[in-house]
Symmetry: C2
Subunit: 213 residues, 2 copies
DNA sequence: GCGCAATGTATGGATTTCCATGAGTTGCGG
DNA sequence: CCGCAACTCATGGAAATCCATACATTGCGC
């Protein structure tokens, strides 16, 4: 059950909990780092591997749910909440905000481990999706301004002639831009480019009508 | 705040609750139908409009959460749970399974109305997405078996020549199939067809390599 | 000022796609 | 057995795409 590479972050103000959880992780061959406060966790250097965050609700510096909201926009790892005094509205809010689970103390080791595995699996998924998207974004950054104008026209299905007219340039020039776009985006075909543009959320500017506009 | 067209389903075994909720809906210009049991709800004729389901956990015939699971695979409306004796694991499970909210009695009218509006909005979204997808699926059903073989090859980015070779037919014939596919799927361009295939989750069978494979 | 990247244009040929017209085979249902 | 849908192929021309080569302009940085 040893994972390829991962890290479990533990944030709890109770030292006994931190120790117990660290030992539990250890006993199951998982790497863990414990923090006493949200601040410590946020400012810490965190390795860039699949991770999950076991987060206590009641923290000295900030409420766990608020921390979740703060780091919501970013590449934060999936969260497993643990709490001694949980209430239903909190659990609802936590899960709606994307938490993997919400466990109330005392909870069983099995429940926690299940949640952690789910969280790590989720993070692996997220990370591989992000990695792919990042590569596409990098390619997109290679495009010149003009090429970025050409891309949406091409993936909208416009003929070269039409796209050229749209930009007020000659068809030949547009073909060159188009060719450069394909190469820079590493698209093997137009179909490929369309799917890439889809992932980058390039908007469809003009749609060619079949019956002749 | 009157919605264009909608219906609120109420499932609760307590008649006073049903009456109170029905009145509340009425007071806010919303249409509602109340059921005493899950069975009544399931077997009832339900209008085909944006809806939401206010569901009590403790029902005579079946647990609300189990009902949620049972109807999970299908076009069920978003669920707002209400309960007198809720616990955290139930709320977690409910939300993780897609419920819009999980309210414990007594709850405020405002909270319930907020949840209902969110649920109805969600259902409108879901329904319009489904409607679009249904149309595409209908078009897909119009395709002949051969055309269904051609489609994935085309949207994979293969040249007509390559796709034809793949199927062991002449290029001319493939062009005809391709043309029929475009027409039947109402695709204005290849780019369009690629996006349609994406929505239909047509798998990419072969990807043409740039350097000439 | 020189080099360079970005942008623009042209010519010309090979390849591919688009489209219409015409026609043969197979298999199923009335 | 006849009609029809599905599948097949061919010819031929128009349009579009792909690609290489060659060159002009602009603007920025060293």
């Amino acid at each position: 059950m040893t994972e390829d590479d991962h890290i479990v972050f533990i944030v709890d103000d109770d030292q006994r909990v931190r120790e117990a959880l660290s030992e539990l992780m250890d006993a199951h061959g998982m790497r863990a780092i414990a923090f006493e406060s949200a601040g410590d966790y946020v400012t810490a250097d965190k390795p860039d591997v699949p991770a999950c965050l076991i987060l206590d609700i009641e923290l000295p510096d900030i409420n766990g749910l608020d921390l979740q909201r703060q780091i919501a926009d970013g590449d934060h790892p999936p969260i497993v909440f643990i709490t001694g005094h949980g209430d239903i509205p909190s659990s609802v809010r936590a899960i709606k905000s994307g938490a993997v689970d919400f466990l109330t103390k005392p909870f069983s080791d099995a429940d926690l481990l299940t949640a952690i595995h789910a969280a790590l699996a989720e993070d692996r998924e997220k990370r591989s999706g992000r990695a792919e998207l990042d590569m596409l974004k990098r390619h997109y950054l290679d495009l010149t301004p003009r090429e970025r104008e050409v891309l949406p026209l091409v993936v909208s299905g416009l003929l070269n002639k039409q796209a050229a007219a749209e930009l007020g340039i000659s068809e030949v020039t547009l073909q060159i831009h188009r060719r450069n776009v394909m190469q820079k985006m590493a698209a093997a075909s137009l179909a490929d480019l369309v799917r890439i543009a889809e992932k980058l959320e390039i908007p469809i500017t003009h749609s060619r009508r079949v019956g002749g506009n």
